[in-house]
Amino acid sequence: MSNIDVVITGLGATTPLGGDVTSTWDGLIAGRSGVRTIEADWVERFDLPVKIGATLAEEPTETIPRVQARRLDRCEQVAIVAARQAWADAGFAEQTDEHTDVEPERLGVTIGSGIGGPVTLLTQDDLLEEHGIRKVSPLTVPMLMPNGPAAHVGIELKARAGVHSPASACASGAEGIATGFQMIQSGRADVVVAGGAEACIAPITIAGFAQSRTVSTRNDDPEHASRPFDTGRDGFVLGEGAGAVVLERADRAAARGARVYARLSGFGITSDAYHITGNHPEGIGQIAAMNHAIQMAGLTPSDVGHVNAHATSTVVGDVGEAAAIRKAVGDHPVVTAPKSALGHLVGGAGAVEGIIAILSIYHGLVPATLNLENLDPKVDLDVVSGEARKVELTAAISNSFGFGGHNTALLFTRA
């Protein structure tokens, strides 16, 4: 790899805990849950076995004007909300024809999504069935395509160095950040807005996940439903939201006196080549992803003091990841699982959890894993529970794994 240093100078997010990064972080530190009963008539109509989800704390239409919002799928809306926040947080002004803080030819966007706009697809199909082609929106295709979130952000920011939208299921957001890192390291861009977005809480996704028996059915107790690493876990909770970071060449950030949250020092991306939903039983892909990230950063496992786990609260997945962490990093890192509070944001998860890992380094504080009452003995790691823990960190890994056997580990270091 090249020796171009990449730092994080801006953060943005909209999540089930809050409409921005500060409220999300404060919610995590306070130990709040973003999981709630889904208030929609279709839960009863289809008699769905899953009646809970981690829905957004703040509707994106509170900040996106009506006319713009009606041209965007919800997944695109959350991406724009997060990207605008990250852009402003980096100290950049609106990009216009007259003024740009970042030269468009040196600016990229890498925002992944798991499935893009399935709700648009279904809504428009209903219109086609009921009323014929005249009622089908001419915006159907741009609203449902999975590159839509990245493309809209790229247009708004006038990014001309390239727009990418990795689709690797629940690893998409992390792969978005890794792809942005590569764009800068390969010399294609100086600044990249990177992350992931998802907003697909709908009857068909809930039904599909329920049929795959991977989601929690603790319907009578939503706030305690997502419990990674706990012996009582029974599946993940589907969430929605987006995260975006501004990645910037370190020398460029230093020259403009930008605030630097952390350095992105390495990543690992591997694939299991094993099963479309199940993890490799020996965790070879997860272990390799963490190993690659550590090697790329020029570190050793003992340097990594913290792992922000993918841990979704599934019976098999959490234990497999714990074993992989012990093998790749050791039993010393302080571990936490933010999906206990946020639910599983699918394509948004890797980006939002990357931001949490960055803030853990920046603030020296690791949020607790909610609902961890009885640590599964097979986990055998130092998982933070009860309340947030103060830890001075020099390096942290954020893991994200996806259906399809995608494994991504991001390694952040203190700037």
């Binding site: 009506r66 006319v67 713009q68 041209r71 005249r134 009622k135 929106s137 001419p138 915006l139 741009p142």
Partner: protein, 81 residues
Amino acid sequence: MADKEEILSGLAEIVEEVAGVAQDDVSTEKSFVDDLDIDSLSMVEIAVQAEDKFGVKIPDDELANLKTVGDAVDYVAANSK
């Protein structure tokens, strides 16, 4: 048949709903594309809503000729039942 004033105000409501242009700005001499900044996708939506509202048919080859708000008002006035 609706008179042209009614058509203009009805059309202005549609344009505001679809494209966010203030109704007062939707006047007969304005070009949809050059003055009101309406793209081809929104034009399709506006045409479909206008068909429903005024009971007209606007085929695609006719839609391409409706450059200004006035063109659209005249077309609707001439073709509505």
